[in-house]
Symmetry: C2
Subunit: 287 residues, 2 copies
């Protein structure tokens, strides 16, 4: 059954891409955008991504049936505080935050006990570009969405959000928030931290512009994620601090082993590490 109205809080690249996809798959009759940035709202209205645009939740004259919070993780707490009425009235509220324990903790701080209509979720999809102009209709097609229900989440709300993602071509998996944060620390937050650290490290060296002139395609691919939004990633890293710190420490140990192997010219140790990496990556890309 078609959802009557979907409210998207945060009309940026992710929120805009969701609106595109909901529209294309006719998931709902009406999309209401909420964003402090009037330019973003005007752009989304003009692109027919939303029917209505409001700067604040309090301005919106109606309660959307389903709400998707698409703001950076650092803004979740403020948004949750503004959504108190909606947590009592919507059939389901979900989010797209890159960390899940921090989102649930922020909600706990705003609404205790946790509302039964809240479904924490995280689509594993993104682009380096940000802003609603960077929205694309197929961002979530074939992508995984990790849903981490709380003990309070109602089966009905969970089902509604699951179906919403499935209707726009995503694949939903359930896991607990702790496990989500461990996995994402390893596969997303750590690589981003390393890419930012590498480019920052090279940029600090005096002759940098020179250095980058000689970089090849491999360097460009390797550092692509260092062109992501710095404030967004700063907040994700801080929100997932314990898991990311542990992941960095494990990486530091591996890197120390590599450096030790190099210094003692231990060809076997290097070969073994590099071969393990290649095997794992080749297997990952073939699957």
């Amino acid at each position: 059954m078609m959802i009557e109205s979907v409210g998207i809080i945060g009309v940026g690249m992710i929120g805009g891409s969701l609106a595109h996809a909901l529209r294309a798959q006719q998931v709902c009759q009406k999309i209401i955008g909420i964003d402090a940035d009037t330019d973003a709202l005007a752009w989304a209205l003009n692109a027919n991504l939303i029917e209505q645009g409001w700067q604040q939740v309090a301005d919106c004259p109606e309660v959307p049936q389903v709400v998707i919070i698409c703001v950076p993780v650092a803004s979740m707490r403020t948004v949750f505080a503004a959504c108190q009425d909606w947590f009592r009235q919507c059939t389901a509220i979900t989010d797209v935050g890159s960390t899940k324990q921090s989102v649930i903790a922020d909600l706990q701080a705003a609404c205790s006990p946790l509302p039964t209509n809240f479904v924490p979720a995280h689509p594993i999809a993104g682009r380096e570009q940000s802003g609603v102009q960077a929205a694309v209709p197929d961002l979530f097609t074939g992508k995984k969405v990790l849903v981490t229900p709380t003990a309070e989440t109602s089966p009905e709300s969970l089902m509604q959000i699951t179906e919403l993602w499935q209707q726009i071509g995503a694949e939903v998996e359930y896991m607990n928030a702790d496990r989500h944060d461990q996995i994402l620390a390893a596969t997303s937050h750590l690589p981003h931290a390393l890419a930012f650290a590498l480019v920052a490290c090279l940029a600090e060296q005096t002759e940098t512009p020179e250095i980058f002139r000689y970089a090849a395609g491999g360097f460009s691919d390797f550092t692509r994620i260092a062109s992501s939004d710095p404030a967004l990633w700063r907040d994700i890293c801080i929100a997932n601090q314990p898991a990311l710190t542990a992941a960095i420490e494990r990486f530091e140990e591996t890197l120390q082993k590599l450096r030790a192997g190099l210094q003692t010219q231990d060809a076997d140790a290097l070969q073994s590490m590099f071969q393990n990496a290649k095997n794992a990556r080749d297997k990952f890309t073939q699957s």
Copy 2:
């Protein structure tokens, strides 16, 4: 003036791509391939990349006018020893090794004083795939070739190799070998080491196959270079050990700063590092 004959020692991805390009631009009348692997020679003969194939330098009945050594850096010393006659008779001999000080030291060990016809060079171009079947005609088009002449290199040989690369669409720059190795440690060897270390680190964790299932496009780009040939990169890392060790140590300092910023939730420090990285990378990709 067209070169009479070019000898390519090492008919793999790089040697084969060179043969493709020399053929396409009619740089020489004849290409002689030398490779211990008879399958590679047969493939190259069949693909019309070479006119003749020999398993060893000693088997080759004629002295090529120009010789390009396309073997991994760890094999340079053996090849140099086998090329003693050619160092006396060719008009120019060059290589494509990823490290330049080690190549020059290997040559010094085989021929002292250094031959005047040797022109150390390194095209900044590559692919993750290896073997002559992975050769492509446009690998060097628009790419930089760093040429690091020794004090003994003759102007005539230098000019001949410079023109050869220019004829196949590459852009030649001269620098000294020490500077080359510093730059490549930063922009190529360090990123490869980090990519191998990251995937090896994740692969060590017990639940790895699980972890990789949740990796997104950013992770795939970031780790692409970890699918490169492990033995080749082991040897490059060892050949450039001093510069790479120094680069790893600088990176470790930056990563420690990042981890410290994370642990103290120092948003300003993280923001500043990430923003510097984004600025540097955006500038690099725009240039």
